[in-house]
């Protein structure tokens, strides 16, 4: 079956010739009209629309956005904050960058609707430090929005006031984890907080109720407010609604970003029809479907089981629909939408060594299993690549990973264990024989 057409909602104007990021262009394309309409409605109605839409978070965990908003403690009497997660640092993910650089007002309009719905008076955009131009672009866009009274005091005469500030990170992946991010804004080391009790919706920024959502999720809010939750819920597939930006990188003919209705496209269609298949003379070997933390899929692998809905499935790897529940059903995750493709030129030991170096560098160091374990896993895979591999290294790696996952403060523990666990499980032979049958010439990965 050929792949369906892209449906560009969030990326409608990305790379469109003549579309510029200034407010004049945004207004010419109907900008801030949705916000104006939304401000005439009851905040509770807007929350209901987002709940009805079924939209799930695009940052990694896929948590229903509307449900997250209803968990906010509205009785504490404390201010409620919104923090937009623009840390975009999960390897393989590159979507928020384009929204920020090319269509920042879409994000700001989504934020203002979110703030109004949740009675937020002060919002922050946490942008990773390595996007200095992105930070300047956002600051300029916020200035323009304020000038047009779409943000700031008494917005459009509604009596409602809300301001947005940009907060820059400084090169630490752990700041993408929502409670680490909150600590970072508070001016501390970004050590993630333990949940419970520190659920952001209750005890978040400055111990106040806080909503943390990804950039793309917040942009969806604008479209939900525009078309209504019911209409939005018909896009995509039940339980996996809306569109989603898929970021494809690595060994395909046409890497890049593509926006599709969630679940309407299979992994095979994405890689073959949309991305043009493998490079000349190559075949696919392994796919990481949702950012580097997601468990790897082996090309040729087959899966059998039941979906959350109870429906039975039997799929080859290319048949997996690209949605949250299907990816979970085959033992991995849709995560951040970052699809990393490796062909038969790649040694899985070397690829894992690259990934392990990342996690060893990024562990915040609070929890012993994560701090020590991520470093050990890096040391083992690096040693393997540099000529001292042993037959039992695969087992050793898995034993370290198994002692991290589930024993840490934050989900980084799983994020750093899943690559090792899945690489070794699915490419066992390669790990066992790496010492004796090391591929002759490969691209350096470590």
């Amino acid at each position: 079956m050929p792949a369906p057409e892209q449906r560009r909602m969030i990326f409608a104007h990305i790379d469109e010739p003549g579309y510029t990021r200034d407010i004049a262009c945004y207004l010419k394309h109907g900008g801030y009209e949705v916000m104006k309409k939304a401000f005439k409605r009851q905040p509770a109605e807007l929350i209901e629309e987002v709940k009805t839409s079924g939209v799930r978070g695009r940052g990694g965990a896929g948590f229903p956005c509307g449900v997250k908003w209803t968990l906010v403690d509205r009785k504490s009497g404390k201010p409620i904050y919104l923090v937009v997660n623009a840390d975009e640092s999960e390897p393989g993910t590159f979507k928020d960058r384009y929204i920020i650089h090319q269509d920042p007002h879409q994000l700001i309009e989504g934020m203002m609707i979110t703030c109004f719905a949740n009675n937020v008076k002060q919002a922050y955009i946490y942008i990773r430090g390595e996007m200095p131009q992105g930070a300047r672009i956002l600051e300029e866009a916020i200035r323009e929005a304020r000038e047009h009274n779409f943000a700031g005091a008494n917005i459009l005469g509604s009596g409602y006031s809300c301001d947005i500030f940009v907060h820059r990170g400084a090169g630490a992946y752990i700041c993408g984890e929502e409670t680490g991010l909150i600590e970072s804004i508070e001016g501390k080391r970004p050590y993630p907080r333990i949940k419970p009790p520190y659920f952001p919706a209750v005890l978040g920024l400055w111990q106040c109720p806080t909503i943390v959502n990804n950039v793309e999720t917040i942009c969806h809010v604008k479209h939900i407010a525009d078309m209504g939750g019911d209409a939005y819920s018909l896009i995509g597939t039940p339980g996996n609604t809306g569109t989603r930006i898929l970021c494809v990188s690595g060994h395909v003919q046409r890497p890049g970003y593509y926006e599709f209705e969630v679940g309407k496209l299979t992994l095979g269609q994405l890689l073959h029809d949309v991305c043009g298949g493998p490079l000349p003379g190559r075949t696919f070997k392994a796919i990481i479907p949702g950012g580097s933390s997601a468990k790897v899929l082996r090309w040729g692998e087959r899966f059998k089981g039941k979906l959350r809905s109870g429906q039975a499935f039997e799929w080859g790897v290319e048949d997996i629909p690209l949605d949250f529940d299907s990816m979970a059903a085959v033992g991995t995750m849709a995560g951040s939408g970052g699809v990393i493709v490796m062909d038969d030129s790649v040694s899985m030991v070397e690829a894992l060594a690259n990934i392990n170096a990342f996690y060893a560098h990024e562990s915040c160091g609070q929890c012993t299993p994560c701090r020590e374990g991520s470093l050990w896993m890096k040391k083992i895979t690096t040693r393997m690549v540099h000529g001292a591999a042993r037959k039992e290294d695969g087992q050793l790696l898995v034993s370290v990973a198994d002692q991290i996952a589930g024993r840490t403060i934050c989900a980084f523990g799983e994020a750093c264990s899943w690559p090792t666990q899945s690489f070794v499980a699915k490419f066992k032979d390669e790990f066992e024989t790496y010492a004796t049958s090391k591929p002759a010439e490969t691209t350096t990965l470590i």
């Binding site: 400055w206 970021c247 890049g256 170096a357």
Partner: protein, 162 residues
């Protein structure tokens, strides 16, 4: 501390963005580093005093965040992405090329002071890998040839400015 007037204004503005001063620590560190090139002992003490904190509160940030540095760097800052998507299409070779072109190792100032080269983690532009940041600018699809060309450009510019 000899901060530029524009930096001082930006610092005062940044403090107003938060309900408490401590939250302005990271913005102030960025502003001071942009102004001075790095974070000196004097800068740590100055920022702490400005925010009513102890120097350790600032020092623990400088030692945690990879982008904050305690020493000056070369005139240009080359950051090559090291992570998987870039590595799969030659990121390591690109990094080697820059090192050879400027005759230096990672994280040190090249002889003559032209550059400091760093190997950094995923820059969120994996679809146009390998990527390199030179100062604030992102360069995409940087192969060995393009790395040489960028190096030549940097060398030419620094000869001119000398």
């Amino acid at each position: 501390m000899n901060l530029k007037p524009a930096t001082l204004t930006a610092i005062d503005e940044a403090i107003t963005h938060y309900p408490n001063k401590r939250s302005a620590s990271l913005p102030l560190l960025h502003l001071v580093q942009e102004d001075q090139g790095y974070i000196s002992d004097a800068a740590i003490e100055w920022i702490a005093a400005k925010l009513g904190l102890q120097p350790i509160n600032i020092y623990e940030l400088v030692t945690f965040y990879p982008m904050l540095r305690r020493k000056p760097i070369g005139r240009r800052h080359i950051r090559v992405c090291r992570t998987l998507s870039c590595a799969l299409v030659g990121g390591y070779r690109v990094c080697e090329t820059f090192k050879k072109e400027f005759g230096c190792e990672l994280n040190e100032v090249s002889p003559g002071g032209d550059v400091t080269i760093e190997f950094v983690e995923c820059l969120a532009s994996c679809g146009t890998a390998p990527v390199v940041m030179i100062d604030d600018d992102l360069h995409e699809k940087v192969d060995v040839a393009k790395a040489k060309q960028l190096s030549d450009q940097i060398k030419a510019e620094s000869t001119k400015s000398r």
